[in-house]
Symmetry: C2
Subunit: 278 residues, 2 copies
């Protein structure tokens, strides 16, 4: 349960719209953690403890957990359950399947009772259309974050395909608004080119956008804010590796906090600049 209003109030309170990506790779975390019974959870817990007052969302990418079997999946569950309830929990799963399978995916991420965890939002791929998105939207107070324009090089393979109705990603932005409101639907929009947000905001002026690709992937926060921010902020900007792998030593959590704080402060400046904070 995390309403649009709660999200906005978190942003106001923390002066931040930072999402921290928990893409925890057992081969990249500090070596000393291997002395603990569960190195991945030790890492995640310390990162969360050190940063949760600076960010408004955490986003574990499910691939990093699935690739370590049932134990990995249990880590995903334990991570979701460890995140404090005032922080928005995003399962970056990029799922999408139809009918009863779609319902099962929704259950996997939203249904505490059977799945053992309940994220506030899940990222969904739009290729199969409405049928694959609606099962997630049927959960009250849960969010779908639909892929629109991604930040990778090959996003142009299909997302920029164009006809008289606009590019594919624009049609995703438009059509999906028939399936759910801006109280339950957000979009993933890559940040490599800030001006792209002008087109996005033409189609989705009010929606929250989840923006990966600031930092390592090369986008500029100032540009994203200039072109993408709306009166409710309307942005959740993700950073993963730059924060969680800021140090490879015993001070990794403190180093992560330092990086997160830097970004939070940049964000605070932007929030004042646009008048969201006064």
């Amino acid at each position: 349960m995390f309403s649009r209003q709660q999200l906005i109030s978190q942003i106001r309170q923390k002066k931040s719209f930072l999402c921290i990506g928990l893409d925890t790779d057992p081969e990249k975390i500090p070596l000393f953690l291997n002395d603990f019974p569960n190195p991945v959870m030790e890492f995640n817990r310390r990162i969360i403890d050190a940063t949760h007052d600076l960010c408004i969302a955490y986003k574990p990418n499910t691939a990093f957990y699935e690739s370590y079997g049932a134990k990995g999946w249990q880590n995903l569950i334990d991570t979701c359950n460890y995140i404090p309830n005032d922080v928005f929990k995003i399962a970056d799963a990029k799922r999408g399947d139809l009918g009863n399978t779609g319902q099962m995916y929704a259950k996997a991420f939203f249904d505490q009772q059977t799945a053992g965890m309940s994220f506030d939002a899940v990222t969904v791929a739009p290729y199969m259309g409405a049928d694959s998105v609606i099962p997630f939207l049927q959960y009250k107070n849960k969010w779908v974050i639909l892929l629109a324009l991604t930040s990778n090089d090959s996003h142009e393979d299909f997302q920029l395909m164009e006809n008289t109705a606009g590019a594919l990603y624009e049609q995703v932005l438009q059509k999906s608004q028939n399936w759910g409101t801006d109280e339950q639907l957000m979009f993933v929009v890559g940040a490599t080119r800030g001006e792209a947000f002008l087109t996005i905001r033409k189609h989705a002026p009010k929606h929250f956008l989840l923006v990966p690709g600031v930092g390592v992937q090369g986008g500029s926060l100032a540009d994203v804010c200039k072109y993408g921010m709306n009166t409710d902020c309307g942005l959740i900007v993700n950073s993963s590796r730059a924060i969680i792998y800021a140090s490879n030593g015993k001070d990794f959590a403190e180093a992560a906090r330092v990086e997160a704080l830097k970004i939070q402060q940049e964000m605070e400046t932007e929030l004042f600049k646009t008048g969201f904070l006064k």
Copy 2:
């Protein structure tokens, strides 16, 4: 490891191109199985024992396992490991993410060592383009089955979007052939309208196609074969619920076998009709 040649030889030997979808829902399996320590595995093992000489592939849909937490994921692993090695193992996961995340997804389904299971193939969604498909293609002797034209009503939302280069699904068929060969790439093609295979075969004459949507979803096997079969057969036709839920009693495995046999015999007829079997 499952080469194109091995697949063809399995089809020839079993006179079948049937894939059985292991979409095992704990709420739909016979009640008496609840007396066993692991009802889902008891169900899957009995279905596999009863049908593996009639089908050339099994396809667990990962959603049905994920929705039951780490225990569900362990069932997915155990199911994959239980399938005999002469049967093609498809993870119907519809994954797709870029770069290092894509590599993690590939590991999750192909890397026995870290993930505890190794499928022969995984279904992948094309929305993010080459970056999201190539990590899977980097595994030798493994397959990507890329979503092209799905069988659900809302496939028209985006897949049929058209410009001068053709429909989106046609561009998926075309572009993806630059990323991998027909020894490692197949396509998901829904079977609700047999004539659609004419267009598919124009773009992908040699590729194997995974065809859901025969049976419950309404496609006709004869039509699929008429328009979709090539000289190597080139088809893997899936049926899930019609087989695995054929009976809700103690005879569920025998009933599944009867249904699978019916389909196998129809397939045998088609294979003779087109001259693949002589």
